[in-house]
Symmetry: C2
Subunit: 606 residues, 2 copies
């Protein structure tokens, strides 16, 4: 097995004997004697000092490891790497949506790394490699099971707890703490008649459960909870609010230093499409901002980067900007659910940059990335999808990271076989990939035109008459939802500066125009094009740019390892088909509705 990821550069395996980050650090440094880095064993915060030619590190936990990996990356890149001393986010999580049956919800890299057949089932070397991988980019917490606690995953806190603890033992030397998704209704499985957070019996149950978990996993990170969302149980069942529910769990974890990560993902998934007064993106803000200040200090409210659900283009979630007295976690989805299934190339560093720009000045202690990892040999399905995990870690450490720099570092670390020109070319290709994907898929911030359920490929009306609250309401004259003050009022959830940016269709960024506004096809944009012409242009260009990307990629592939080249080539061909399908379906859909001809006479199918 040759695991390919940026860490393919490292010596093949770490010794079985490592049991702590210091031992890991020492083992890693042994692979790089040229580095002239020594370790000094002291407890306490990370420090480093020059000692003649050599550098001497001391410290503990993942901080120390991070410094070590930073030195190694600097060495490999021949340039300074990772200069942050205090990470921007103190809790840097990966959320795996893995089920005990071995399936992975929205997983595009094969089956679960942790589970199979209803139990824990893993390759110890691969788990150790995973720890190394996470530690090298500063990820210090992993939630191993799906937020939808299905397929008897409750057993991880019950009879499977000893095996869960054994997995935590494997990750501990990398400074990666284990977290579990908790089922809010768990007490019901244990003969308790309710899961009401106000019930003393329920509180005692959770206190006991936590005591048991911490007996087995002393550094257990805490619980991740998706409650009252998409048919999951939660406090609403008992007439309690989400602060009541989260705080109850938090108090059970508190004595042991654990946290509750509470997902702010409540909306009406049984909406009637006829109902135009309910606007799903408004739901998180409406549900959670009234609770601001009511959450305990070891509750962290985890909010997706946008108000919907990881669409190709969403504005920043207003909830993230409105909860000043609540600990927040910012959630990204590295798994490419809506962004190409790790078939299409879609580099996320630009997304991280934009979102963090919008959050400038907002204190957020934690960050979460929904995992794009699986049992595939290369862990991420498409080898380039590893960039998104790498970059996620670096942005989690440094909110000010530069997308292009991060991408280039990934390219050079992962593919030392590329010459300078090749690395620059691949970097440019990756940097452009997100914009290209956006062009051939969703027009101007219009969401949800994907095949229902699958979420790959176009289906313009696929969600239009469903209950998920995801409508574009395109008709023969106009398209989009009016989310201004004259419409649903969603835009009023933003602070004044963003309201100003979004509320006026003549000021709104083009790429979010149809997120915020309902506009006629004849609407004239700032560059003089009509809205419909812009939709056509984007889709034709998106396909052409995908073709060009395929040509550029082909030139680079001979410098890549054979296996990577093969996978890249195969998936690029699928991506090109996907781009063509999107182009034609979206253009035909709008042509049928609007009747507008393409100004440049390109082929739009009838």
């Amino acid at each position: 097995m040759t695991d390919r990821l940026w860490l393919s550069l490292f010596p093949d395996r770490l010794p079985e004997s490592i049991h702590s980050p210091v031992e890991t650090a020492r083992a890693e440094l042994e692979g790089f004697p040229d580095l002239h880095v020594a370790l000094r064993e002291t407890d306490g915060p990370l420090t480093w000092e020059k000692d003649g030619d050599a550098e001497c590190l001391s410290g503990q936990g993942q901080d120390l490891l991070r410094a070590v990996y930073g030195r190694i990356f600097s060495h490999l890149l021949s340039e300074p790497f990772e200069p942050v001393s205090t990470p921007s986010f103190s809790l840097r999580m990966i959320n795996c949506w893995d089920n005990l049956d071995g399936s992975v919800e929205r997983g595009y890299s094969g089956r679960s790394l942790f589970f199979e057949g209803g139990k824990l089932s893993y390759d110890r070397d691969r788990i150790r490699f995973l720890g190394r991988l996470l530690a090298s980019v500063g990820i210090n917490c992993i939630c191993i099971n799906n937020v939808n606690v299905l397929h008897e995953a409750q057993r991880l806190m019950e009879d499977l707890l000893p095996e869960t603890a054994a997995l935590a033992d494997l990750l501990r030397p990398f400074g990666v703490r284990l977290m579990l998704s908790a089922d809010f209704a768990l007490p019901l499985r244990h003969g308790i008649a309710t899961a009401d957070p106000f019930s003393p019996e329920v509180q005692a149950f959770w206190a006991n459960t936590c005591r048991e978990i911490y007996r087995c996993i002393p550094d257990f990170a805490g619980f991740l909870v998706k409650a009252d969302s998409e048919h999951r149980p939660g406090p609403f069942t008992y007439g309690r609010n989400h602060a009541d529910g989260a705080n109850m769990l938090a108090r059970a974890l508190k004595p042991f230093g654990g946290v509750v990560i509470w997902r702010a993902f409540v909306y009406n998934c049984q909406q009637d499409w006829r109902d135009t007064s309910t606007d799903r993106p408004m739901a998180p803000y409406l549900t959670y901002t009234p609770l601001d200040g009511q959450f305990d200090d070891n509750v962290i409210l985890q909010v997706k980067n946008g108000p919907y659900d990881f669409q190709v283009r969403e504005p920043i979630s207003p909830t993230l900007l409105a909860m000043h007295r609540t600990n927040l976690a910012l959630e990204f989805q590295l798994a490419q659910e809506y962004t190409g299934h790790q078939i299409d190339i879609y580099a996320m560093p630009g997304l991280f940059r934009e979102v963090l720009d919008d959050l400038r000045g907002t204190a957020i202690p934690a960050i979460a990335g929904v995992s794009n990892l699986g049992r595939d040999k290369n862990y991420t399905g498409h080898p380039f999808a590893a960039l998104n995990l790498f970059a996620y870690g670096l942005f989690a450490l440094n909110r000010e990271a530069d997308p292009e720099e991060v991408t280039e570092q990934f390219v050079r670390l992962a593919y030392p076989s590329l010459n300078t020109e090749g690395a620059a070319s691949l970097t440019r290709l990756l940097m452009r990939s997100r914009g290209i994907y956006e062009k051939y898929t969703s027009p101007l911030g219009l969401c949800w035109m994907v095949v229902p359920g699958l979420h790959y490929g176009p289906s313009p009306d696929g969600y239009e008459y469903q209950s998920w609250g995801t409508y574009h309401r395109a008709d023969r004259n106009a398209v989009g939802i009016d989310r201004t003050g004259q419409g649903t009022g969603y835009v009023l959830q933003y602070p004044a500066d963003l309201q100003a940016r979004y509320a006026d269709p003549h000021a709104c960024p083009d790429n979010m125009l149809l997120f915020f506004h309902r506009l006629p096809y004849s609407f004239v944009m700032r560059d003089g094009r009509t809205l419909i012409q812009r939709i056509y242009d984007d889709h034709f260009e998106g396909y052409e740019e995908t073709e060009a990307m395929q040509k550029e990629l082909e030139k680079l592939l001979e410098s890549l390892p054979d296996e990577d080249a093969r996978i890249c080539r195969e998936r690029m061909q699928l991506q090109l088909s996907n781009a063509r399908e999107w182009r034609d379906v979206i253009n035909t859909f709008f042509h049928r509705l609007s009747g507008a001809e393409d100004a440049r006479g390109r082929k739009i199918y009838a």
Copy 2:
């Protein structure tokens, strides 16, 4: 277990000891001593004679049984029943789409009556009841496994053959012969490198297979084959045509008296939606009519009633009218795949009448009904769905049957608890059900506006950009495919009288207008309404009539057995929701496209 169907009237069980139709006939007559019918044991064709007060029947096989059941039904109805002496179709089949894993493709009555967990698994009493059920309406052949031979169903002709034979033994006393769906590629499972029908090795394989089958099942009916269709293997793989493939199998069966039922269901299921020159309904005619006269005499080409696939409204399949030198079977789908999943009430006698009217003068030796049976207590999910099996049998016996008479007979046999007025009311309700379903679903012969895969509920564009060749191409001005001589030319596949009926939009029956024509929304129909207004009217009326049906049904339910009443009530509520959803989605879809307002100002959602 009280199985409800018309045969709930009969004594609960037949004795285990019956082994032949004569024994069955005798056992049934013992339950009705008032009948004064005696049997005389002679071989030969069915005869009956008066012997004083009593009637004396002699004959063999299912003919005798049919006469017995006819006398019993006459007695129960106090009116003459089943006067046919020579059935209109000599081979009267049920095709079950049951898989060995116990699932039923397009089954809405629970799991398979025959299979579970990869093997035969059944209740002997229920199989005996099934035989009785089929025999009572003259069905003399049952194919037990899915035409898509999946989940190791090939084993029915291999190691599971003894158990398959045991099932045939249970059905034999009812004059019901067993048939199996065959996998054209079966030789490949037996170490033969090809399934080419011209290969002597393949021919020898099938000859051997048939010999083995007939050794175990002496009255085996033959093979049902779906070849080269929807990813099934077939002769095309080897550069042979369908006569080559069917005749090869027929010759293997010939020495034993078996037939090949060859399904004429070939089309391009990988069509590009951009392709407007390929028109799927044309495929069966184009594939099979050039082979007319080339099939062996024990090959029967089984053709669906319409050219597509059991849509709510299709014209007669032109293939049925064009194969005068080929033995044909007419295929109906009793399973309500597109007609309400046995949740919505949809009585088929009117369909049978219309199709058989269109086929008047055409000799067709066989008929097939895709089974609506399953392991549900009442066999058909909705108790009224039993009507469709009952009526199918009676129309198979008598092409000239009257839908209203058949429906009334069903109502009176199944629900003797209803008084005259109640029976008349339920008969009227059932007779109207098909038209109501058609109104709230498919507009004017437009097909495929259903949720893809599921085929229940509306999704106007659901199949529009898929590869199944099922497009309506609705845009802001017009809807439908032009299938006249100026369009795809489909209408030219019909004889002159039907061409005349369908080709002119001003002569074409309203209910097929959008099957044959592409028309602007402003098209003025014979009654003066515009096309779009007619679509709106039908959908509003369809829902209103469903509401009225619910009210009428409610009045009848107290006279029905409790279990039936409960099921009918629950499903009627679901049907009403379904009708509402169809009404609003279809109306909104066309309103968005056309911009036309409802002339009567009723609510169409934005």
